[in-house]
Amino acid sequence: MINNTGRRRRWAATAAVVALGGISLAACSSSGGGSGSGQEPQTITFAYSNPSGNEHYYQDAAAAYKKAHPGVAITMQSLPAESYAQAIATRIQGGNAPDVFQAESGSGQADSIQPFAKAGLLLPLTDPALKAELTPAGLSQFQYNGKIYAVSLGSAVNGIVYNDQLAKAAGVTLTANSTFSDVLQACAAAKAKGKSLFGLAGSAAPNTGILALEIATSAVYGADPNWDAQRTADTVKFATTPGWTATLNSIVQLYKAGCFQPGAQSAGFDALTNGSSRGQLFGFFAPSGAAHDISVASGGHVNLVALPFPAPSGQTYASVSSDTSVAGNAHTKSPKLVASFLAFLASPAGQKILSAGSGYFPVGTTNVSTLSAPYKPVAAMITSRQYRGFPTINWPNGKVYADLGSGVQGLLTGQETVPQVLQQMDSDWTTP
């Protein structure tokens, strides 16, 4: 039996332990509060997607900024393209985001900026010059509640990145004026030579998704540029819009015609790189910057061009967008440095460096004669404004685009039908 003295001693000891623990915790929490010096760290991290391994333009821009700002260090983090959106979204949500990171404008992809801005996870950018610099690209896609949260990498054509020289050598012809029937004929011609007209990374939703959106640019948004607004107002649906049905049916048609490389359903981005470098395929679906990347990687031996995807019927429109963006972490320890670096990227000087290395063209470019060689086939379409934007910037969440991408894979593997994919997208659209 324990006497009163013993019990008191036991409680005293317990209280001492608790008090000691409390003091320790308090010490921990107080030690984390503020650096005290008022000088923010001059080293920041910058993460970006790396589909081809040649994303040196970010390094070029960072190097130029560091040269103009001695003492600044920018640590680059190159991440795999196939999982980039998920990886960066996880890091942002988990409070482990880099100081600066590549993202998508608008709201329709897993790494789109607006949901993160709404959650207070992005750094608002207040440089007065940004508004004028981003307006030509469509300012609203970089904003949330009137504040700017990202800057554009530049503008690009989302289309077929095409090796015209190689295709012509094999007797295959495809131009910006080709029709969908021409594409099917070209597929047959390429197949007869043991090649594939297109490479498709069927297991990578961003690649199957961009193919669908390239076709929908003409099939849906060509005739109805405000389709997204109507979908938001619930006056139209994916499942009942003929253009969307035609878009997905076209992909099935392309697959059955042997337009894609063997094994396309489960292929990753590596299949595109390998197939292109070995001359086994003539084109793939990507932003036009990829044409520049591959040309640089080959030392100028391979010259690719950007083509619009021909409409299943009617007029063809190019898909031109400035959605690839760069944003800052709201919880960075160097907010002034991050804002300054992002302002530099959006400035004419920054855009010049980025476009020189990426193959994108600076936001607001009006003189198409200054565009690089890959854009020659689509220059006339850009001049005559025969183009539409990238739809996902207006889509309400990342699920719609993700299920479009996986749905296209399901069409190729026979797991889903066209109506099922479109109904799923309608269901996703209304997900809160």
């Binding site: 013993g6 000891a13 332990v17 608790v18 998920q86 996870l121 094994g263 292929a267 593997t413």
Partner: protein
């Protein structure tokens, strides 16, 4: 037959000492309050965090900002959404397949490498080698092997089995099988080691005596070896069951949950719904379901494999 006690019994004098210490003052107090920091840490980091997660399963929280209580609608959604239900089925299939194949093959290797073979130590090392590798790295290598133009299809073509070539990761059932193969391949070594430890406790004399009495190989295994390695069986099956139910790395690296979500599991769906789609409430509900699944399956499995001797 007499059996040695499993644990040594304490002499009466030894048994009495803690009692005397408890009565003697400060040392006795240590028996409970010394555990307070560990209990607080465990309670906060594990059980409080788990309870918080369970709490959010009944909300529509997006990860940031306010939330509303939505009752059990997140759980209803899990069972009404074909994709999420498919993930649940895949999880069970992979877990069961993983337990069965890993333990059968692992036990087979353990029996083969238990005695007699001169090279058994080298072979044990070789079989254990995959265990030390990163599951993600291993899965990427297997992804290359299973690729349409990969080594597996090339070898099948070279040996005249071209008809067996498939787009392994594009056919839903085959893709799920590929995930299972990689899981099993990497874990056989671990399970073998567990069984080897159990087999080391089986007296050779018993088997020799049974053999002299005319018992065949299967009968000796069934009547002598298996009962004596029952603890190893329980440990190996429990660990593989838990590992199978929470499979994540191999699925993400091999298929990313595809084709068209056909190989999604509860763990990958939890990740996707929570972090990609910012549906923390739904993700929490699925995590809670996974926890309950693991609990129920593990208890049932332990009941099945417990030592009844």
């Amino acid at each position: 037959m007499t059996r040695s006690p499993a644990t040594p019994t304490l002499a009466q004098g030894e048994n009495a000492r803690p009692g005397r210490a408890a009565r003697s003052g400060l040392v006795g107090y240590g028996y409970w309050w010394w555990t307070v920091p560990a209990l607080v840490l465990t309670g906060t980091v594990i059980y409080l965090a788990t309870a918080s997660g369970a709490f959010y399963a009944f909300t529509n929280w997006t990860g940031i900002g306010p939330y509303n209580f939505v009752g059990v609608s997140n759980f209803v959604k899990v069972f009404q959404t074909p994709q999420l239900l498919g993930a649940l089925v895949n999880t069970v299939l992979l877990a069961v397949g993983f337990v069965v194949f890993t333990n059968l093959i692992g036990l087979g290797f353990a029996l083969a490498l238990n005695r007699t073979l001169k090279t058994r130590y080298l072979l044990r090392t070789l079989i254990f080698l995959p265990v030390v590798l990163s599951p993600v790295a291993v899965s990427f290598i297997w992804k290359f092997i299973f690729a349409y133009n990969g080594p597996l299809n090339q070898i099948l073509g070279d040996v005249g089995l071209g008809s067996l070539r498939h787009n392994w990761l594009a056919v839903p059932k085959l893709a799920l099988g590929c995930v299972l193969v990689v899981m099993v391949w990497q874990s056989i070594g671990f399970v073998s080691v567990v069984y080897l430890a159990g087999l080391a406790t089986v007296p050779a004399e018993l088997e020799e005596a049974a053999a002299i009495d005319g018992a065949g190989m299967w009968r000796r295994f069934r009547r002598i070896t298996l009962p004596l390695i029952q603890p190893s069986l329980a440990i190996a099956t429990t660990l593989t069951l838990i590992q199978g139910l929470r499979v994540f790395d191999q699925v993400m690296a091999l298929t990313g949950g595809g084709p068209d979500n056909a190989t999604q599991t509860l763990a990958t769906e939890i990740y996707q719904q929570t972090f990609t789609y910012q549906e923390f409430g739904l993700g929490a509900a699925m995590a809670l379901l996974l926890t309950v699944f693991i609990l129920v399956f593990t208890v049932a499995q332990l009941a099945l494999t417990r030592d009844r001797t």
